[in-house]
Symmetry: C2
Subunit: 333 residues, 2 copies
């Protein structure tokens, strides 16, 4: 990989840097990261605003390139790591991502590589977050853990025997789509019924709230908010004011999450499960029923062993750091 050097700084006088990019359904965040996990420069562009992937790449290049210049020019960057929903590590493509504006199979790694003229490596966004937690966060040094991201959707990255599980085709770790409640709630993105994501995501919490408000006549602060504005944040704010129904919504969500986690534990027996993302802000409102129902569904040999940890990395940092960590791996292996 030869690169023309466009900065006035001599490359040999500077430590190399990697770029980590976290492509999300709403926005895309990126950072220029050093070997120790310090994010030196960072920025964000809209994902949703680009109906075509080409215009997305154009804006990404324009905004990120100015950061690259500030960081000493492209000669200092050894590569770009990308985390993206439905990203495939083996092929560098995004395939049928229900939460992205671009449909079908998108060769994202190649598009970025062609635009930036830098080596690019791509993985699933939750896998990137798992690598970030493993190198710099709550899963530091662990050889067996599961990362669960609880955002608009539910993502996951699974590490066993010290390695990410990619599966035979690069798509392993879609735990948000496992069926937790057979014949349960419809997931409109996949057409499947009762997946974990249809309950234990921000979207799921909103749907649970609407259902519970509909099915009871109980007094609730939530009734002061028009249904179209009810989201997990509104439910959280009602819950911390002591609203009974709001607390029940998190209790219900946590129970389903706990049941799912029990099943994951009996699969790969991780040392810890790292939870990350918006829903974890509800703290014990969701974590307590999660932990309790996980334990209740575990057979004896697994009980009281598995830690449920909440990520302490700043929102998006885990994924940016993890994506950048892919680059160090790429260059050293």
């Amino acid at each position: 990989m030869t690169q023309s050097f466009t900065s006035s700084l001599a490359p040999t006088s500077l430590t190399p840097l990697a770029i980590g990019i976290d492509v999300g359904g709403t926005g895309t965040k990126f950072g220029i990261v050093d070997r120790n996990g310090n994010i030196l420069f960072s920025g964000e562009i809209s994902t949703r605003g680009h109906d075509e992937v080409e215009s997305f790449i154009d804006e990404l290049h324009r905004v990120l390139y100015s950061l690259i210049q500030k960081a000493g020019g492209p000669g200092r960057i050894i590569g770009i790591g990308l985390g993206a929903p439905n990203g495939n590590y083996y092929s560098g493509t995004i395939e049928y991502a229900p939460n992205l504006p671009w449909k079908g199979i998108i060769p994202l790694a190649k598009l970025v590589e062609d635009k930036f003229k830098l080596p690019v490596i791509l993985t699933n966004d939750a896998n990137a977050a798992a690598i970030g937690e493993n190198m710099y966060g709550a899963a530091k040094g662990m050889k067996d853990f599961i990362m669960i991201t609880l955002g608009t959707g539910v993502g996951s990255g699974i590490v066993a025997n010290g390695k990410l599980i990619y599966g035979h085709d690069g798509f392993a770790g879609e735990l948000g789509h496992t069926i937790t409640i057979p014949n349960g709630r419809l997931h409109t993105g996949t057409g499947k019924f009762g997946s974990l994501e249809s309950y234990a995501s921000a979207t799921g919490v909103r749907l649970t709230a609407l259902e519970m408000l509909n099915n009871s006549s109980e007094e609730s602060l939530l009734r002061n908010t028009p249904p179209e504005n009810i989201d997990s944040k509104v439910v959280y704010e009602a819950a911390i004011q002591g609203d009974k129904l709001a607390k029940e919504i998190f209790e219900f969500t946590g129970k389903i999450l706990g049941l799912a986690l029990a099943n994951f534990v009996m699969f790969s027996s991780p040392e810890a499960i790292i939870l990350f993302g918006g829903l974890t802000k509800a703290g014990d409102l969701i974590l307590k029923p999660t932990q309790e129902n996980m334990e209740a569904n575990l057979i004896q040999v697994f009980q009281n062993k598995v830690k449920i940890l909440v990520s302490h990395l700043k929102e998006a940092d885990a994924a940016i750091l993890g994506a950048s960590a892919l680059v160090w791996d790429m260059k050293t292996s």
Copy 2:
């Protein structure tokens, strides 16, 4: 490892052999195996007949030692591999195995080692079967697959990135205990509700048959058999004679198994799932609904990719071969 040599044959003139032992709930099978997976001598003793593990070890030694003599004496044996339910690879113990007569934590590897004066390595019985399939059977050469044993219970061994998943404590791969139908059928051995094993095992098929016979007044050949004698074999025989209710029992069982398999696929994205054990004898009666309901519950990226294969190794051979393969690994690594 020094061994006194008790046979008249010189050890150097003969290829080394390994012993594989499959400890089951009813019987314990064993074989003396060469490096190519040929079982040269084999035998079986009762497990259930021994309330105390010491008397089990005594009988195992007595019967197996005569085979060792036939095979050229202990000097030719490089070690013993054990597969056992709830077996722990790291500690060499069996822990709280609901299907074995010995309760609590049993240091089985140490007991066998002390008795035979040979190096011993132990793993979960289904993990042993997975290794056997990987070396000599349907999963030959695969780096990502899941082995499911459908016998009295449901066991599993998971291989990802070319390695068995043991988890942080050695207990990974208890897929039979994952909850497939929340609040479903009670598993009397674990006290949990709705586990895969409570439906997709020989025991589960019997319970489904009794439930269906009870809940309908439909004509069925199964009504000619006293309830206490109904088992998966009786149901199979009725089904191949065209009995509608018997076919529905396998259909129901296959659907639940298929749902569970979909969840496993979305976890580790294996190239294939290898099914093994008594229930697979029902062939398409169970495999067709299994395959169909697996596909129906998979999100798009996983559909029409994962092979469901039935083991072609003789009953118990996979586990004996796999247990013996542990020995080769032990000696070469």
